[in-house]
C-alpha cells in the first residue's frame, strides 16, 4: 500500500497534520476542538443533515459542514468565529422550535447533546410564540420507545439500522415540520442490536424501556468494564446507582466492538444485583454449617485439600487471575479442572467486522481453555470417589443434588449458594461477582482486557483471586497476594502466552496474547 499522504491545515489557530481524506471534524478532535454535531457519528455513514457542524473555512464562499468536508492543504478553519457561531445558534433555535421543554421528565437529561450545545452556544430564550407540534409517543418494539416531540431528525437511528445492522426497520416519515421517525409496517425494533439506537440518539427521542425513569444521568457511578455475557468481550461502562447496577452501555474500542453492544449483553445485568447469596464464610461442624471467620474457614478448606485429589469446577465468568490460581491448586493436588458454559445462537452485526453476539455466553471461555480447563457438559462427572470437589463461581443453573452424588467433600467458593449444595458443602467461602471485583478476561480472539469494580459486595464476601490466593497460602504454596495486578504479574511471568503483559500495558483497551487467533474464525 502506498504511503498515506499527510495534509497540513490550521484549525482554530492550531496546526495539525492528518491523513488525506480525513474530515475537518475528525481533524479538529485531534487538536482538542469539539465541533458540535448531531447527525455525524464515527460509527455511521456521513449524512450531513443536521447542519450543526458548520464551520468557517477561509477563502470558501460559504460555511462548510465539517463532518462532510475533507481537509485540504493550507486550509484555515475557524470553529468559533462570529459567523459560524451565529449559524449554529440559528440551527439550534430552529431545532428548539418544536422541542418540548420537558427536560425534568426526560431520561436523556444530563447526557443530552441538545442540552449541552444549547447551553454552550444557543440562545437564552425562544422567540417562537406559537403552540408546539405534538405527536404521541410510540412503542417501537423490543426495548425501545420513541418520543417524536423530542426528535431532531438526525437520522442516526435510521442509518444504524440500514447500514450497520442491515435490518431496515426505521425511516423518516412525512415531510417538512411534520417529519418523524417511523417504522415500516409490520416491523419492530426486535433486532438483537437495535438497543444501540438509544445510545446513538443525541436527544431523548429514543429511550430504553428498561432504564426509563430509573435514574438521572448525573446520579450514576460509572466503571469501565467488559461485558461478561458472551466471549466477544465488548468494552462497556457499568453504571450503578446506590450500589445497584442500572444499565450497561458500550465503551468505544475499535479493536473489539467499535461503538456497539448487543441487547442480550446490555439487558443481562440483573444477576449482578442478586441478593440471595453467600455472605459469610461457613464451616461444617458436627454436621451443620456454622458461620466462621475467614481466618478459620480458609485453613479449614486447606486442610480438606491437603493430600486429596481436587476436582475443580470453575466458572467461565472467572477472571484470568482466579483461573491461574486455580491451575496452581490443580497442580498441587494432581486434580483436574473443568467448566461448563451456557450456549445460545450466534448473531453477528453485519456492519462491523468480527463483531457478534457469540455462541458461548460467558466472559472468559477462551482464557479458561488457554489455562488448561476443559469444557464439558457434565462438570461433576470427573469427580472420583473421595475427591474433594471445589466449585468456584458456578451459578448452578440447571444443576441439582443428584449430579454430585459420588463426590467426597465439597468446597464451595462463589457468590451463589443454592440450598442443595449448601447441604453438601464442608466449607463455603463467599466471593464477589463479576461486577464487584477487578481482573482481566480473555476474549475469543485472545485479547486480554481489564475490567474494574463497579459496586461493593455484600457481607463478608471477598474477591475470588484474594480467597484463592489465601487458600494457596494456607496450603503452603506461596505468599499472599494483595492486588489483582500482583496475581496478573505472576501469571505473566509464568505463562508464555501472557509474557510481557501488565495492567499498565493493557490499559482499558486490552492487548492480544501471544499467537492470538486473528480475524474471523
Amino acid at each position: 500500500m502506498a504511503e498515506t499522504k499527510m495534509v497540513s491545515l490550521t484549525i482554530e489557530g492550531r496546526a495539525v497534520s492528518v491523513p488525506e481524506g480525513t474530515t475537518i471534524l475528525e481533524a479538529a478532535k485531534q487538536v482538542g476542538v469539539l465541533i458540535p454535531h448531531y447527525c455525524y457519528h464515527p460509527g455511521l455513514p456521513v449524512a450531513g443533515v443536521c447542519r450543526m457542524c458548520l464551520v468557517e473555512v477561509e477563502k470558501a464562499p460559504k460555511l462548510a459542514p465539517s463532518c462532510a468536508t475533507t481537509v485540504a492543504d493550507g486550509q484555515v478553519v475557524h470553529v468559533h468565529s462570529d459567523k459560524s457561531l451565529d449559524a449554529r445558534k440559528g440551527v439550534l433555535e430552529m431545532l428548539l422550535i418544536n422541542h418540548p421543554l420537558d427536560c425534568p421528565i426526560c431520561d436523556q437529561s444530563g447526557e443530552c447533546e441538545l442540552q449541552d450545545y444549547t447551553f454552550q452556544e444557543g440562545r437564552n430564550d425562544s422567540r417562537y410564540r406559537e403552540p408546539k407540534r405534538f405527536n404521541p409517543s410510540e412503542d417501537f418494539g423490543g426495548d425501545i420507545v420513541y418520543v417524536p416531540n423530542r426528535c431532531i431528525l438526525c437520522t442516526r437511528c435510521v442509518r444504524f439500522m440500514d447500514d450497520v445492522a442491515h435490518d431496515t426497520v426505521l425511516n423518516v416519515s412525512e415531510r417538512g415540520d411534520r417529519a418523524v421517525i417511523g417504522k415500516f409496517e409490520g416491523k419492530d425494533l426486535t433486532n438483537v442490536w437495535a438497543g444501540n439506537v438509544v445510545d446513538l440518539c443525541p436527544v431523548g427521542a429514543l429511550l430504553s424501556k428498561d432504564f426509563l425513569n430509573k435514574a438521572r444521568a448525573w446520579e450514576l457511578d460509572r466503571a469501565a468494564s467488559i461485558c461478561p455475557n458472551c466471549t466477544q468481550g465488548c468494552n462497556v461502562m457499568i453504571e450503578t446507582r446506590e450500589n445497584q447496577v442500572v444499565r450497561m452501555r458500550p465503551r468505544p474500542n475499535e479493536e473489539v466492538n467499535a461503538f456497539f453492544m448487543c441487547d442480550y449483553g446490555r439487558l443481562n445485568y440483573r444477576w449482578m444485583n442478586e441478593r440471595q447469596r453467600a455472605e459469610t464464610p461457613l464451616v461444617k461442624m458436627n454436621g451443620k454449617l456454622v458461620a466462621a471467620d475467614w481466618d478459620v474457614a480458609v485453613p479449614a478448606a486447606a486442610k480438606l485439600l491437603t493430600g486429596n485429589r481436587a476436582h475443580i469446577v470453575a466458572s467461565p465468568m472467572l477472571s484470568n487471575e482466579s483461573l491461574y490460581l486455580l491451575t496452581q491448586l490443580i497442580d498441587t493436588s494432581k486434580g483436574a479442572g473443568v467448566f461448563r458454559v451456557a450456549e445460545g445462537e450466534e448473531v453477528p452485526l453485519p456492519g462491523v467486522e468480527d463483531l457478534a453476539l457469540r455462541r458461548d455466553r460467558a466472559a472468559n471461555v477462551y482464557g479458561a481453555e488457554m489455562l488448561g480447563f476443559k469444557k464439558t457438559n457434565d462438570v461433576f462427572a470427573g469427580a472420583g470417589k473421595g475427591d474433594v470437589l471445589v466449585v468456584v463461581g458456578e451459578d448452578f443453573d440447571g444443576l441439582d443434588a443428584s449430579s454430585i452424588s459420588n463426590a467426597g467433600d465439597v468446597i464451595l467458593i462463589g457468590p451463589a449458594m443454592p440450598n442443595w449444595i449448601a447441604e453438601k458443602a464442608a466449607v463455603v467461602l463467599p466471593t464477589t461477582n463479576f461486577a464487584e471485583e477487578e481482573g482481566t478476561v480473555t476474549n475469543l480472539r485472545g485479547r486480554v482486557q481489564r475490567f474494574s469494580q463497579a459496586k461493593a459486595a455484600p457481607g463478608l464476601s471477598r474477591p475470588t483471586w484474594l480467597v484463592l490466593g489465601d487458600l494457596l497460602g494456607a496450603i503452603g504454596k506461596q505468599s499472599q497476594f494483595f492486588l489483582p495486578s500482583d496475581v496478573f504479574g505472576k501469571l505473566a511471568s509464568s505463562r508464555e502466552e501472557f509474557a510481557g503483559l501488565s495492567y499498565d500495558k493493557l490499559g482499558f483497551k486490552g492487548l492480544p496474547v501471544l499467537n492470538a487467533k486473528a480475524g474471523a474464525a
Binding site: 427536560c103 425534568p104 421528565i105 425513569n213 430509573k214 435514574a215 448525573w218
Partner: protein
Amino acid sequence: MAIKVKIVERPVDEVSYIRSTMKGMALTFKHIFKEKVTTQYPEEKAPISPRWRGTHRMLTTETGKAKCVACGLCPTVCPANCIKLVPGEDEQGNRYPLVFEIDEFRCIFCGYCQEVCPEEAIHVGRHYENSEYSRAGFVYDLERLTSQTHPVCEMWDPEDPKGE
C-alpha cells in the same frame, strides 16, 4: 493586728440613693402609659417575612396529586443531602416520585430546592412551629408534605419578579 481603714468623707448629695431611685421609678412608671411592645405568644404571633424559609410543603395539582415529576434536581442541588427521591411511573406512564422524603433535621433551609424546582412543586414554608414527639417525625414524607397548608415562601415579589 487591726487594719486601719481610711474613711473618705463624701458629700450627701452624691451618695444618697433616694435621688437615683426616684429617677429609676420615674422611668418605670412612664412606660405604664406607653404603647405595649410584648407579643403575647402563642395567643398572638409576630408577623414573619414573605421570604421566610421554614419547613417544606409540596404543592398539588387541582386533582390533589403532588406537582413533583421526580426530575431529581432538588436532591442534586441540596447542599445538606436531606432529600431522598425515588422516581417511578404512574398508570398513565407519567413520571412521579415513588418516595419523596425530606429530613428536616438535616435541612439547612437554604431554599435552593424551591429555587431549582422546574414545576414549582417543592416550597419552603412561612412556618416555624415544628415540634414533634419523636425524631422520626421530622422526616416528612410525600403525604405530610402535600397535606400541610401553611403559606409558602415568596422567593421574589410577584409584582416585581426581576427586582427592578
